[in-house]
Amino acid sequence: MAQDGIGAAVRRREDRRFLTGRGKYVHDIVLPRQLHAVFLRSPHAHAEIVAIDTAAAAASPDVVAVFTADDVAGLNGVPCAWGIAGKDGRPMKEPKHPLLASGKVRHVGDPVAMIVAESVAAAKNAAERIAIEYRALPAVTEVAEAAKPGAPQLYADVPGNLCCDWAVGDAAATAAAFAKAHHVAKLDLVNTRLVPNAMEPRAALADYEPATGDFTLYTTTQLPHVARVLIGVLMLGIPERKLRVVAPDVGGGFGSKQVVYCEEGLVTWAAGRLGRPVKWVAERSEAFVSDAQGRDHVTHAELALDRDGKFLGLRVSTLANIGGYVSTFGPNIPTNLYGPLLAGVYTTPAIYCEVKVMFTNTVPTDAYRGAGRPEATYVLERLVDVAARDLDLDRVDIRRRNFIPANAFPYQTPVMLHYDTGDHEATLAKALELSRWSGFAERRRAAAARGRLRGIGIVTYIEACGLAPSRIAQQLGARGGLFESANVRVNPSGDVTVFTGAHNHGQGHETVFAQLVGELLGVPSDSVEIVHGDTARSPFGLGTYGSRSAAVGGAAIAKAVGKIIDKGRKIAGHLLEASEQDIEFKEGYFGVAGTDRRKSFAEIAGAAYTPPPSYPLETLEPGLEETAFYDPVNFTFPGGCHVAEVEIDPTTGALEVVSYVAVDDVGTVLNPMIVEGQIHGGVVQGLGQALGENCVYDRANGQLLTGSFMDYCMPRADDLPNIVVATQSTPSRHNPIGVKGCGEVGTIASPATLMNAVVDALAEYGIVHVDMPASPQRLWQAIQTAVPRRAAQ
């Protein structure tokens, strides 16, 4: 095995440029004669546009063009890539999402005009000279309010703001399960709205070559090929062959950059119209009102249990807020990626989940790290804790009683998913050990002596990722396949260039894919180069999201490498005068079985490009390059157990996360350092929601109250303890390399884990639930309202 192959903690090769400021992001690309675009956005949450006067802006110094809805009326809107159907089988309501607001604005930040000028400052000056007459309308930002009769209506043809009334599971079987229940545990909870806040704001730069009609769009996307279809073909009518999409270094996506946006389309269109490159770079405050946001559910959940604490049935009813427009994958997130996850790691035989997908006067929501699965895990794992409290059962014990046993895999849940492998007892045992669970009572006593409330929380979870088997995805509404591509080009001197359809925006693909190829070819990983993010270079691929890149993109690479080895075996057979069937490939050498005759991989590559006389050019093509498309047989199912310990100062409500242990089964570990980093980052992102992140709109007027980091509470290093990360692997059977995915597990498990710990810390006050975020004010208020209750008892 190569020293730097699968399983080696190879340092990330991309970090040299990232850490030395040598990354090349969209904003770093400067084209000759480039223009700058600025978008004028709605200050209203909901209003009619009565009149727009752009004359003064157009006459403003250095302004080249000002565009409004009328100018782009001939273009299509922002397309949705995943349509869903309601429980009655009818498709969701999908009103047009115009590139510039037409007639009406539906959220603060809705773009109304595009100003293109010689400089950003000139464009901003002009934007201030656009006169827009609005007629303000009542706005609704909260999903529960939007569902009420008499709520402001966003669309004339979408009654009740209801985009889709969706369900999964067997309602009758679930009702029957509840009818025979010994106890029903109930919980109402809110999953807060989040702002993604990638370190690099979105940006787009488009170029047009009039002589050929070719467009190039440099943009911050996680899925360049998909963006080319959605922006080029569907939005603008530019054929794929005439649009090259380049996603260079991208500073974080977290789902917000798997969405395609009007700005990307508009700069492309404007570059063509004006014959000059057009660049747009979002400012942070602009990102707060224009990047697709995450979560935003209101849920009622009930769990039916028998006398022994076995789960009989689960019933979940959720209102999901998708904002003012249908985003690229928006409707799919709170439905297909949510309801089917409610089985968790348990044998609950009957599950029924209803989701009302609602429009409101807010920024559209879409995938945000975890995308649906953190929401499901939060509902289920909070509810299990409530049930344990109700029945006076130990929280570990109630989980164990309901685990899908390791020997029951593969396992079919009542809500669509077919789990391949897992050993939840093993991850639980390891987490209990690493968290010193059994010694908690003593730590709680010691904390109490210091005046602190100490709590411990546990979550056992599973998630579905590795999106996705195309056939299943299409049945669920995906408007395309979900395979991945790879092209492996062996160069004449024997080094290797790999072109992947996946996209690296922080995951470490350039390192880990090279390790994979190095391992499979028996060559050092530093002789392998990974190329991604350019539709002109890589074969059509679906991009990176849903923890899919190793499971689907890695499998595609492995498949292409397999084809390389097959051809190498043919070439070697001729060079070594042996039958192809007798050629073994091992540790970088093609050899004749049972002999010492062999050729190195580099020698075979050389022969492929400089064919010796023995090379049968008549029957075997020269060259050594193969392409593969891999469509997974199923999702992958990472899972595990997380434990958090917290201390609360009851005097102020201040919370300290004292310890955090993550034990995850991510399948085969390709690079343990990268896996640890991904889980670490994921845990922190989830803790961000549990501790402080919360996107708040003013109920009265729909204004965003948390429009900057002054009010939107991002997690900081000193909010966090050292995080213990361990893996406990059962390789996946759903792909050839056994990986499951590690990009989102941390975010999926950690909000519920932290909140379970918080509620445990407050248990002595009789508190059974606290909504996120566990801010000091919220915890202090919870204690204040509970103290009198406790005193009264």
């Binding site: 405050s285 102020t652 409500g653 002054m710 009010d711 991002m714 000091p776 004010q777 208020q781």
Partner: protein, 265 residues
Amino acid sequence: MYPFAYHRPATVAEAVARLRDSEEARPLAGGQTLIPTLKQRLASPDALVDLKGIDGLDAIAAEGDGLRIGALTRHACVAASPLVQDLIPALARLAAGIGDPQVRNRGTLGGSIANNDPASDYPAALVGLGAVIGTSERRIAAEDFFTGLFETDLEPGEIVTEVWFPRPRRAGYAKFPNPASRYALAGVFVADAAAGIRVAVTGAGPCVFRLAEAERLLSTSFVPAALEPLRVPATGLNADIHADANYRAHLVAVMAQRAVTAALL
């Protein structure tokens, strides 16, 4: 950012003259508030008068029974000054906790107090210690200087040049941070000085204020427990998504106790 003229005078007199040239001119010190405000196009001064070219405004010196600190002294320099640490350690610790390293290495004492952000730390120290502010024109007692939300007693064209802090017998500061911005939701500076006990509160109201009830309780006994009976009225306190007025009032009482604890360390 809108265009503006930029001046970098070498003397206080010249700076005052430049500021008086135009009603819209603004003095620039560390720029930690003004520059972001300009970048967001929320202010449009026709001229910036950069005070950083004036020599001698960033000195720290013992003077009388106290400390004289120049208006352009950066927070990090106050925090790291052996003189401040020796004479008024609570002031050094307060400065060490302002904002983040970037703010502390750019932001200045004079800039901070002239801006009078309701959640900034320095006003609590100035009022708590009974400091005297020296300007290009006069000397002003701290209590008279901070007049309201982002309001001070400064006249147009008047520049803060220094602050004189009397040395207390003991003093302490405690703040509870806004979880998002890390500004003070409630910050309390407590000083036991020749002039008596002073308790000053920042972050909780529209402007720094003294807490007479806490001062009375601590005058009997300068220990945290003396503040047990303290009830801070919520009336008139700030309220936002991070802390309503009741929570802020409660935090003021808790931080007052913690400030006393810090003073006794």
